[in-house]
Amino acid sequence: MGKRYGFQYLGHPPTIESVLSQPLAFPMQALFLIMQTFSAPLFVSFAECQTNLDNNMNNQFMVQNQSGAIDLSSRLTRLNEISTSSSATNMTVAGDNTPFLARDFENRSVWSVEYSGVSLKLKLANPKYVDKYRQKRTFTVWLDAKTGQLLKIRSKFQGEAGEMRQEPSADSAESQLRAAGEFYSGLPNVSVQPRITFLDAVDAVLSQGIGSPLAAKEIDGLCVMHSKMGSTPRLVWVVTLRGLPPIPAKGPQGDLVPAWQRNHIRNVVDAVTGKCLFATNVPQPD
């Protein structure tokens, strides 16, 4: 458990040798000393384990090293289950484009965990379906280096982008979302964490949402507190599918809407219940 999540013990239980080397008058005293010497550190260690596990559940612990970052990232996303390799590097965020959060992310030290060799497998997809973008998507997960908190998940398509355009700047995206009545109030408080992983949210999009993740060149994720039309903020996964086959545009002159405005969709999924709430193509590229 400690090894898996990179726990750091502050002390070490005494060795048998160190205990037995104490000068002892009676065997019972020796047993008492052994129990006392062992029991306190062991209880402390157990308490530390429990605390660290709780902290781990809240993502609030220092990610000690690369393997710790990968483990935590995999627990939050399950991307390890659909990739052939993963690696982690430490970096500083610069020039991020996440609406509402980019300024908060700027200059943060993060673990950047990259998953490659991805073949998308979703629970509710036809088991015989072969991902047509197999090995063409890489996913990158950013974890705050100090707290382990998940910042965002980005994917990169390694192929012809076609009509898939760059995402808008943070300011532009934020302006568009505000114009549509949406607001990201921030990352979740440590006491309110997603009950479903990123891949679970992608599964929810496949089964309940708009646009097929299997047909998307890129799939991005964000776990934030979200409100719409003044509603009470709730914890959601924002799953953005990019590079989709263009969604038909209805209405007068709908056919004149360019494909690059119709080939992406953003699904908002309740991160506690897994229910897909709504989907929209806001924000549009600049």
Binding site: Q176, A179, C276, F278, V282
Partner: protein, 130 residues
Amino acid sequence: MQGNRYAVNYDISNAPTDDSTHSYQCDLDTTTGTWQFSYDGTAWQSYQDDYWKTAVGATVQWTGEIYNKEDDMPGTATDKCNFTGCQYSVDGVYQDAGLVAGDVSSDDPNEWGAQWVSGTAFNIWDIHPL
């Protein structure tokens, strides 16, 4: 919505229940360029785009629409979906749509039925509901 940018919103989790009746309304505030959509009198969605500060809607449509062709259009031949009270506003004053039979149509009569009822009403339904 189409202004300077094209926007759609799929309200996946709030589909109306069978045999329920609801009112839908959208109004443009040109001072802010904002379309306000309401559902049963409650604000449901807003859409602000500077384009709409200097433009007004030129056409109005009342449509039944599905996302996937396999999805069911509301209504069946024996229990049609009724659109009633169709109106539009000019300078904030609502007036009847004035529909005539030729205004009501289906993209594919083999899949979906459409029936004119009156100047403010029509029916739609799925020909082959699942």
